[in-house]
Symmetry: C2
């Protein structure tokens, strides 16, 4: 029997899945591990959290993605430890795998900067479960507001805070505004959902720091049209069930808010620690120019878990986006395939091709920045739309997401407005009189549909 090298890939995100696929024709055996059965298209996860898409629209079974690739075995398993000297990965359940090559692509998770007690009050957005929990909280807040008799508390239920002004924070804040202004507009009787208030907290002096300053300004203005206040140079110092405390140059302030979302810090997956090599302060592995780790040429780290430079000797880092992980996966697959085929040329250094960044703020509003272009508005939004559809895994998902978006565009509705999981406790109902009279909600005072870009 032929002895093909065994390539173990941990994590089937953008980097890991791409590595496996690019090894399709290489003389290797691949084992692809993930603790989930699905590959997640994370750039659209905020759309699940805000009820625009279904989980299954952006999550694709890993097995189905490589079903016809005969040299890949998929295992639903969690890697608990790595022993680089013995070349083994220890798995949940007590088993372990031996590898000839190892690709670690387990990504990052939220970081609360040491304040882990904030997690329960301000969930972050990394998994399908996170997204469903956020969706539950958003729509439950309106239900609680409808039942609430105290106007101060009712106001707090209609207030939504987002911590962190990166792409995820901006996308969430824009969608939160539109849910009240457009989706739920007509659905309540005691509250007026268009009185929604969104607050986006950002520690630096602009949102979307990876973009040119003029796009940060445009994004801020677009958010403000959607009832989102953007508070720059503001740090969150405390979070609990009924509000946040923030610190600015002017001093501390307490803001009553019942729904808080976390889009601030990330930290590398803990698996990195077993590799026993230098890491940066957020825990990412500092990789060699070929993406292997020091002294272990058969171990590669790619994606959000790696601190990769855009080229050998460069000072600029590869951003933590899908493109970085995909390109890293391709690079590593090429090296492994070459060596498995018996060729012994020197390994090439990784070189990042920056295809630009894009983020969406809402209906007909996105920002797009490439080396040569910095635009926002309708055309940017159409570009965002096309690119995201194109990169979605699986033909069916593309079609369904496209239809969902077209439907939302036409109806202002969101297709997945489902509250699943625990409901309540909700405020007591004391506001309905003997005859169930239905007070008309206060008329919407501010942003109207026609003010939004159409």
């Amino acid at each position: 029997m032929e002895m093909r090298p065994h390539v173990v890939i941990i994590g089937a995100g953008f980097g890991g899945l791409e590595t496996a696929r690019r090894l399709a024709k290489a003389p290797v055996q691949v084992t692809l591990l993930d603790r989930r059965n699905h590959h997640l298209f994370q750039p659209l996860l905020y759309q699940v959290a805000t009820a625009a898409l279904n989980p299954a629209d952006i999550a694709y079974p890993i097995r189905a993605a490589v079903a016809t690739q005969k040299n890949v075995r998929v295992l639903l398993a969690e890697a608990l430890a790595i022993d680089p000297a013995a070349r083994t990965v220890a798995l949940d359940g007590g088993g372990s795998l031996h590898y000839d090559y190892l690709v670690v692509a387990t990504g990052a998770t939220h970081s609360y900067f040491g304040k882990d007690q904030w997690a329960q009050f301000a969930p972050g957005l990394k998994s399908v479960e996170d997204a469903l929990e956020i969706r539950r909280r958003i729509f439950l807040a309106y239900e609680a507001a409808e039942r609430e008799a105290d106007p101060v508390v009712q106001r707090e239920y209609l207030t939504f805070a987002v911590v962190g002004g990166g792409p995820t924070g901006v996308e969430l804040a824009g969608a939160l505004g539109e849910i009240g202004l457009l989706t739920l507009k007509k659905d309540f009787r005691s509250i007026d959902p268009t009185n929604v208030r969104v607050i986006l907290f950002e520690g630096t002096d602009r949102v979307l720091r990876a973009y040119p300053p003029k796009l940060s300004t445009a994004a801020k203005e677009s958010l403000e049209k959607r009832r989102a206040e953007v508070r720059l140079n503001t740090f969150v110092t405390a979070i609990d069930a009924t509000g946040v405390t923030v610190k600015t140059a002017a001093g501390e302030e307490r803001i009553g808010v019942r729904t808080i979302l976390w889009a601030a810090g990330v930290q590398a997956s803990p698996l990195a620690a077993f590799l026993d090599v230098p890491r940066d302060k957020s825990g990412r592995v500092i990789v060699n120019p070929d993406l292997s780790i020091p002294d272990r040429p058969n171990v590669f780290v790619i994606g959000d878990l790696a601190k990769m430079m855009i080229a050998a000797g460069a000072q600029e880092e590869v951003p933590g986006v899908a493109q970085g992980a995909l390109q890293g996966g391709r690079h590593v697959a090429k090296i492994i395939a070459t060596e498995a085929a018996g060729q012994t040329s020197e390994r090439p250094a990784f070189r990042y091709h920056d295809k630009g960044n894009m983020a969406t703020i809402g209906r007909a509003e996105a920002v797009v920045a490439t080396k040569s272009v910095a635009i926002h508005g309708l055309f940017a939004w159409l570009m965002w739309w096309a690119v995201h559809i194109f990169f979605l895994v699986g033909f069916r998902n593309r079609v369904l997401v496209m239809l969902n978006w077209m439907w939302s565009w036409l109806t202002f509705q969101r297709g997945a407005r489902l509250i699943t999981g625990p409901v309540g406790p909700l405020p007591p109902i004391t506001t309905i009189d003997e005859h169930g009279d239905i007070p008309l909600p206060r008329a919407a005072k501010s942003v109207e549909l026609r003010d939004l870009p159409s």
Copy 2:
């Protein structure tokens, strides 16, 4: 201010939602309570459990369903008690509602015939959460089988049991067979998913007792083509984490099976007890011919919570299907609207119009029975398809479900193969050698795609 009667409706299933909608033009104020924010199209819930549809495809926000109906207020609330003398409904959170008319439409839940400890091993199918839990168990069983080294245990993971041969049991059993035979066919390396084994247990001498005997026979044969053994005259006497014990005329038998689904008994919602009127042994309220309850002409019970007769004086019961609830809702709405308008004619008795029954078994296979027709096969399946699309709430859902089904039909895939929630514990991985060699799965021995009706 005009004094309109206050109609409180508990439950926004088929019966409750229909009552509210049919009161659109009546001079009443309606409060529609539900402990969920969505109306659930329960006839298709098994398709969520078997990954063919997304939860949001069959769950529609109650608020959106009545958003433009100005005399309806929707409350996300749980009714804890009813006081018919005081005409009040006590709600979670401590508040209560006064009513002039009350419509109780809270349906039914599973019954384990007093063996509530079985619930953890054999979940039933009533809510979106139930469906997602069943989906999780089904697909996790294949993952566990792929990891399992012991062939006996592996066999148990590839065995699925369904208790109860009514429509839900038959639909689940058919889909379970097709998941292994078609959907997962190519996706594993250590197991052959087409070796799936499904066992349907039914206590009486045929499945689908509400249908003509020849359709029961046809359903049984169709199930057998899908690798489902149908065990008639068989009672389950014990259920635990690794199997079931059944009793037949031949004696007791223990069967090792890791995934067990419950589709056997239902019992009426506990709210019925507060009405203080006679109930049948499954807890349903025995209603008057006009669907009100004895001595309380302003309280109606409809849907699965009521024991309704098909006409005044008839001995035949209205079956616990959507049509029964919808027609009950229409009847009650008409009575309330008439009386609210000041007319005092005698109340008409409810009369059920039997539009027939239908259940699907799998690709191109369904049974349809009306007064004049009893058919099965492709044409029945197309009828099932058309009727279910037609009755789905919301245009968007209809389109998406149609597309999902067409896609599944063409590709043999299921669109929502997502495992969410806890994963594991799974068996240890001890079956992969040093070089990760991938054994070819044993060739499928039995049912091939071409044997299935296409």
